[in-house]
Amino acid sequence: MTQLSEVRDLEKTANLGTGMLRREDQRLLTGGGQFLDDLPFGDFYEAAILRSNYAHARILSIDTEAAKSLNGVIAVFTASELGPILKDLPPKVTNPKLNYQVRLPIVKEYARYIGEPVAVVVAENRYIAEDALELIEVEYEPLESVGSTAQALKEGAPPVHIGSETNVAVHLIQQAGDPEAALKSSPHVLRETLHVARGGGHSIEARAVAARFDGPTQQLIVWDNTQAPHYVRQMLATIYGVSEDEIRLIAPADIGGGFGPKAQFYGEEVLIPWIAMELNHPVKWIEDRWENFISATMERTQTHHVEVGFDDDGRLLVLKDVFEHDQGAYCVGLKVPTITMSTLPGPYVIPNIHSELISCYTNIVPTSSLRGAGRPQAVVAMERMMDRIAEHLGLEPAEVRRRNLIQPDQFPYAVGLTFRDGSPLTYDSGNYPALLDGVLERIDLAEFRAEQIEARKSGKFLGLGLAMFVEGTGIGPYEGARVRLTNTGRVMVSLAASPQGQGYETVYAQVAADAIGCDIDLVSVRHGDTSFIPYGQGTFASRITSTAGPAVWQASTQVKVDIIDVAASMLKIDSGELVIRGDRVEVGDDPEKGVSLAEIASIANVGRHGMSVARNQPVAIERTSYFKPSQAAYSSGISAIIVSVDVETGKIEILRSILGHDCGTVLNPLLVEGQVLGGHAHGIGNAIYEEAKYSKDGQPLTVSYLDYALPTAMEVPTPELFHVVSPSPLNPLGVKGSGEGGTVPLPASVANAVEDALRPFGARIREIPLTPDRVLAAIYGFQRDET
């Protein structure tokens, strides 16, 4: 057997390392995308969902008679008709200390947020289904509710879950060193309270589920634009009490954005397939934007109470952060706040750390991971304080950072905390000084400071903000790929994970073609269907390149061995003399002599019925590989932002944005840059524009794009992007994740830049996003009524 190789030198590969254009584009550019609601489902019934319009209420009765009698309505379901599936939707990541509260697919008695499903109407079309929603009469007994963590944690706050003594969902502490002693002995200590608001994923395609029970095969087929098809199948199998083989879960070939909310598991995903089985007729539910605003999970709300202790040179001695996290009405998972806990220390040597989470329930739609997933908030806490240290000591913020960075020779670096994957927080590789240097090569600090002082004379306020981060990516448990040689002599790569625009069909063809050494045009990639490969986890947490990537590499490498061994047997020649070129296996020094991949497939896979095969000749060239990372791989990066702030209106103009990024080996620079640039835009949104607002009692106030501001091409500048490459030793490709790094530092760097611009006013930026209102409040000190 040939040894499995590693990719370390992309110069020697034919496809990897090149910015190959995407295979997906042709269909997407011509209107031929295969998004869920574009599929030719035919006569599927359409569902609409009645949602609680109370943030907290007890349902006394539901009258569906009028709705049922409407022409075109097929059926109406409430909890009382759905007994067998009124089962808990458990959190994705949990903790023994969690104040655990059951989340049901549909409200049984208590509705705990506006948007929670109360009834499902199935009708001939969505128009009629929505008509019927208006005919359902629900008698609610309104209950007191809380619309923020501050409200929820107040003494005597009304309980989100009646019967629970507290709204605290979990209280966790992680420590390294002796933080209390270090705080006492630090020559300087600075404290601040920093708040980051709620924001949403806002994939332009909202959620969607369709299902049909296939009688002839006795299989439930579910189409779901989820980021995690195998995970959804597993949840459904558990809740319905069937084996996984009785459900085929298909994430369509095209999914219109994910960004985290589509990686969660929702009540609708349980309800729709079940109802399709109950009615013995296919049903689909296409979430509309209003539903998406009130029922898709969101993120970001955290309030950090952070303290840093440091010496006269600005060297960090201790970091203490106690933060409140909004879990929403239920715990969909503890991943976000636990990621925050361990992202805090970032790229710095900090001998003493206290990281404390107080997560609480509120009467708002639950939170879960969203591009960045708890990291932007952690970076706000850490990086805002790095700037405060610089201000306190009269140093350049870049210099304070430089003095504290973990050095390239310190890897693997054990931070002393635990990451969300359960493994010790140990950075695998990186070069943080190179990231900082990359920015300083592009911005002449002395020149900028002179310009800044000069500009103030004419009433122009410029500011520079930096933010650095280290980001755990590529987490376990595993991801799978199946690679096989087809009867036509092509290579079919089947992935478990489903993409939402990342370009899997392109980059994994590059991986497979280079591993096998065949022509890339012979490689096809398909994904997202549980019938393609039995197990998988899904696309989330910037994990696929460093889990599915190695799986494709491993399986392809094994397939290559099989192909050559079959050819050796066919040609009666030693396998060592054979090479794969184009669509053939040839003798290295005699290219005339060879066999085609199609011939190999014919011999090894099709075979001859009933005939024995030579002892050394492999059969059935099909390899499935599951790659299991030993721990997370840590990407890193830096953002530098130069802003001009209009101090009369609070408007921020971004003059320059520089992004340095290290995600290890770059398999396709075009796709990686696309990920980083998209993340950057999301980060700009979080920093300045996007905010999901709620009244004090949990009423959502921003449920349209007139009120919730997504950045357009006018708001997002093109950043100057540079890469540092520190390959990960944890996988054979040396890769790390890149899907979120563009987002993570932006709220912090923009806030730092704005505070830097406003230093003559002594303005303190404590809340993000930096709306004009907040900027002026920071300058002029007027009080805002924050809930």
């Binding site: 254009l21 995407r22 997906e24 584009d25 042709q26 269909r27 997407l28 550019l29 011509t30 209107g31 031929g32 995308g33 998004f35 609601d37 574009d38 409407l70 022409n71 075109g72 128009y127 009629i128 008509d131 208006e134 005919l135 806002h202 994939s203 332009i204 395609e205 909202a206 095209d254 999914i255 219109g256 954005g257 960004f259 509309d288 934007r289 939402q500 625009g501 990342q502 370009g503 075009l670 796709l671 840059e673 696309g674 640039l677 998209g678 993340g679 950057h680 835009a681 999301h682 349209s704 794009y705 007139l706 997504l710 357009t712 091409a713 006018m714 997002v716 093109t718 950043p719 563009g742």
Partner: protein, 172 residues
Amino acid sequence: MSEAVELDPAEAKMWITVTINGSKGTYLVDQRLTLADFIRKQVGLPGTHLGCEHGSCGACTIIMGDKAVRSCLLLAAQADRESIETVESLAEDGVLSPLQEAFHANHALQCGYCTSGFLMSLVARLREGPIESEAQAREALSGNICRCTGYTGMVAALMSLPTPNGQSGGAQ
């Protein structure tokens, strides 16, 4: 409760004649059917997408007459005797138009869901005149929302298109 439901238990319908991507047809439509749903479901051209159904995201943008419009904010009834172009009209026999090709070459799309709307907005804009600066490119893109790309690839795509004087927009 909607009064219309009580007033008339049957869905009010009407006949419309529409030219879509050059082919003229007559359809019986529900009076309240939006133009977007009509194009997607009744005509069977699903490339026009719905992102917000309140006119803000631009995914459903089509060209009606000679103007880029939101098909979620029009009724099918209003398209009677109108001429409509959708994303499906842009490539000929699978050969991408220069704009589509520029999107491909500049990685101007990722998930591709919003792409149809961007393309139709830009086709209408480019018929009015070339895009000659980054500022013009951004203005032309600003009526549509993309959540994946950060717009960089789209700006680059527009700057790469040839202008009448033979230079690409990016040359200035």
